[in-house]
């Protein structure tokens, strides 16, 4: 099965109309938007669209030849998530998106010079680090096209003149990392959130362009560290499918089990942190107690606790530890069921939690599709977005499990989705663990891995949503462009929508249940 994609090339002038007609055809989910610098050809964007009903994908590419002043039409009126994706492309490539109401930089400082993902970017333009505080503008930037064909820049204030704005972050224990919310309040009610990201932007995608494929693998674990297995799985799968390598059945099954263990790990940490944020310290300790059991299993086989470095291109790094099957049985038959029972007793049924979560931060099904919120957040609103069902990969086609969905889309549902998914993950592992097929754990690979020229896209179901890898290769030993569909970026983007009209204290509940990981957002 090849994962090569051949994006349909659309002229910049017809871009908006083409995408609108595709949306009308049923491609109602903008999965990922990738900015690319094609050198001589110019800068451009690849839109990857998905039919939510069938999981079918199509890709559209648009190029702007003028590198000095590149611009494209914005599609944020079709998909809400496009707004933040376009800001990202503007930040990295300097492509101006006309009629996007808020086309500011998103990751880099506002006084940053140049666009770092362009191939001709000069690093010496900016100091190594700044010690003076970042200037934060109160005005949103909007680019429009004048009648004479020139791009006009208009600035509109983000907050009203009399708004009371409170800064939450970048150093705040409940933002799950370094995230900065500028929150305007009416009394105690949130009226608008302006999220600032990039405090942990390490430029992983740009770094990867200078690294060989096996070196790139090392950076994947450090993006979403609670989905280390899955992120690495996604990149390995993308490179393997691009090169036409079939990994053995044994590797497929091992990868599936590891992904599910990682999912359990992530969901338990989600539970612990949510409980901690809402003031339930005992629940936090319970969660961490059970999480250590999973880490022990990882440690025996992979050698690492958090950063696992296990998947490799063409297989996995080590064979399973002799105790693996026994340990996993103990985990899924004793530790997790016992733990879950306790979580429900101590936290789920707690009246304080119920009151703080029920009906708080409601996102409808249309909202989550438009905002691209996959994973538990999407499924809590009733959107069947589980890639393990939609586009099965690894060994997911041979196991039976339920896709957990809820209807209300509030914080309680988002919480319940994850706890139920722990049970489903245990079920998947139970079906696989006793008959792991024999076979090689690593295919024979050439010492230098080169991916044939082309564009490729693969995705896995990460702990908190669809984790896609867009890979463009020129046939070298390094990728020409490597882009990850961050699971968290749309989730941070939806915070404004979810929190409006709720109390400031609810922001913590909503942020906790939406469950984003900042290093995965910023990359």
């Amino acid at each position: 099965m090849s994962n090569q994609i051949n994006p349909q090339i659309v002229a910049a002038a017809e871009l908006h109309a083409t995408l609108a007609s595709l949306k009308a055809e049923g491609y109602d989910f903008l999965e990922v938007l990738t900015g690319v610098d094609w050198g001589e050809e110019g800068l451009g964007v690849v839109y990857s669209l998905t039919k939510t009903a069938t999981g079918e994908m199509t890709h559209v590419k648009s190029v702007c030849a003028d590198k000095e002043n590149p611009y494209l039409d914005s599609v944020c009126d079709l998909w809400a998530v496009a707004g933040i994706y376009e800001r990202e492309a503007y930040d990295f490539y300097g492509i101006k998106f006309l009629n996007n109401p808020d086309c500011r930089r998103v990751f880099l400082r506002e006084d940053w010079i140049g666009y770092p993902f362009r191939k001709d970017y000069d690093e010496s333009q900016n100091p190594e680090f700044f010690l003076e505080s970042e200037p934060i503008s109160d005005k949103a930037v909007c680019f429009t096209l004048n009648e004479d064909g020139k791009v006009k820049k208009t600035e509109t204030p983000i907050f009203g003149e009399n708004d009371y704005v409170v800064n939450i972050g970048p150093q705040h224990p409940s933002t799950h990392g370094v995230l900065h919310f500028r929150t305007s309040l009416e009394g105690e009610t949130v009226t608008k959130i302006d999220a600032h990201m990039g405090y942990i932007h390490r430029g992983i995608e740009k770094l990867s362009e200078g690294y060989t494929y096996p070196q790139c693998l090392g950076l994947t674990d450090r993006m979403d560290y609670l989905g280390a297995m899955q992120t690495r799985h996604a990149l390995c799968m993308c490179v393997e499918q691009a090169m036409g390598i079939e990994v053995s059945e044994r590797v497929q099954v091992i990868r599936t089990i590891m992904d599910e263990l990682q999912r359990i790990d992530s969901h338990i940490l989600f539970f612990s942190c949510l409980a901690q944020d809402l003031g339930a310290t005992t629940a936090f300790l319970y969660g961490f107690r059970d999480r250590e059991e999973i880490l022990k299993i990882f440690e025996k086989t992979c050698g690492g606790r958090l950063i696992l470095n296990y998947n490799m291109i063409g297989g996995v790094a080590h064979d399973l530890h002799p105790d693996f099957v026994k340990d996993v049985h103990r985990l899924i038959d004793e530790v997790i069921p016992h733990g879950l029972k306790e979580y429900h007793e101590i936290f789920t049924g707690n009246v304080i939690f119920q009151t703080r979560a029920k009906g708080v931060g409601v996102l409808s099904k249309d909202d989550v599709i438009s905002y691209g919120c996959t994973g538990g957040t999407g499924r809590a609103a009733g959107w069947h977005c589980d890639l393990r069902k939609l586009r099965p990969y690894a060994a997911y086609d041979r196991v039976k499990f339920n896709e957990i969905t809820f209807e209300n889309g509030d914080s309680l549902d988002r919480y319940m989705v994850r706890l139920k998914e722990i049970e489903e993950s245990c079920d998947i592992i139970r079906q696989l663990i006793d008959n792991i097929p024999e076979g090689p754990i690593q295919e024979k690979m050439k010492p230098i891995i080169k991916v044939p020229e082309g564009t490729y896209y693969s995705a896995v179901e990460g702990s908190r949503g669809i984790l896609g890898v867009y890979l463009e290769s020129k046939g070298d030993k390094t990728p020409y462009r490597l882009h990850y569909r961050s699971t968290g970026l749309p989730l941070v983007n939806v915070m404004d929508k979810a929190c409006r009209g709720h109390l400031l204290a609810d922001l913590i509940t909503i942020g906790g249940t939406i469950d984003y990981i900042i290093p995965d957002v910023d990359r």
């Binding site: 700044f130 010690l131 970042e134 430029g203």
Partner: protein, 217 residues
């Protein structure tokens, strides 16, 4: 001798002891011995040692984490590794209440001023532990355009703890190294930290401006 041999019925009045007597260690040790024999619990040691004992066993870390190491830090704080055993009782969310900042994770160009301000906001005595490869040197992201290559370019670091991320045991080891460092400090008579007042320059500038304005008026 200003001290009576028979301690029963003696009411200590420290003014009665001439100043020179304090330098007479042999007499003092003898006195302590006699006191201990009489069932009185007395220990004589420099006050520094008492202060350091207390200070090194109640170091409260700031809840500060930017990436992966932060999750391991949570594991260190949780039940299995439990850093409270060593006196890192609880984490504090405000830098004003924290004694030590563990720089967990990568510090980027955008985060550097924030971290600097957090450090400046902490009350003296304050300590810094650089956790993980990223905080020490930039780690796997040294080549990046947006990463500070080592947190020691911004803050004075007391202990470096390598790893990516370090194991919880390494965290504990690093924190105990810091305790050792604290225990040899001198509270009296010497300055432990040589940090310049970050606002001194700015303040003197402002003062001069104010004086100029007054003169003009």
């Amino acid at each position: 001798m200003g001290v009576k041999k028979n301690i029963i019925g003696y009411t200590p009045a420290i003014n009665n002891i001439p100043h020179e007597e304090f330098k007479d260690n042999a007499t003092l040790e003898k006195l302590i011995e006699e006191l201990n024999e009489g069932g009185v619990n007395v220990v004589v040691a420099p006050l520094d040692r008492l202060i350091n004992l207390g200070r090194s066993h109640s170091m409260w870390p700031l809840t500060f984490a930017t990436s992966c190491c932060g999750i391991e830090f949570m594991a260190v704080a949780a039940a299995r590794y439990d850093m409270a055993r060593f006196g890192f009782e609880i984490t504090r969310n405000s830098p004003r209440q924290a004694d030590v900042i563990l720089v967990n994770g990568t510090i980027t160009t955008k985060m550097a001023p924030v971290l600097k301000r957090l450090y400046d906001q902490m009350a003296d005595p304050k300590y810094v532990i650089a956790i993980g490869g990223c905080a020490i040197s930039g780690g796997p992201f040294t080549k990046s355009y947006h990463v500070v290559k080592g947190v020691d370019k911004i803050l004075p670091v007391d202990v470096y703890c390598p790893g990516c991320p370090p194991r919880p045991e390494s965290f504990l080891y690093a924190m105990m190294q810091l305790q050792r460092k604290v225990r040899v400090e001198h509270f009296f008579g010497r300055v432990n930290k040589h940090q310049k007042d970050p606002y001194a320059e700015q303040m003197s500038k402002l003062n001069k401006e104010l004086l100029n304005m007054q003169e003009k008026a």
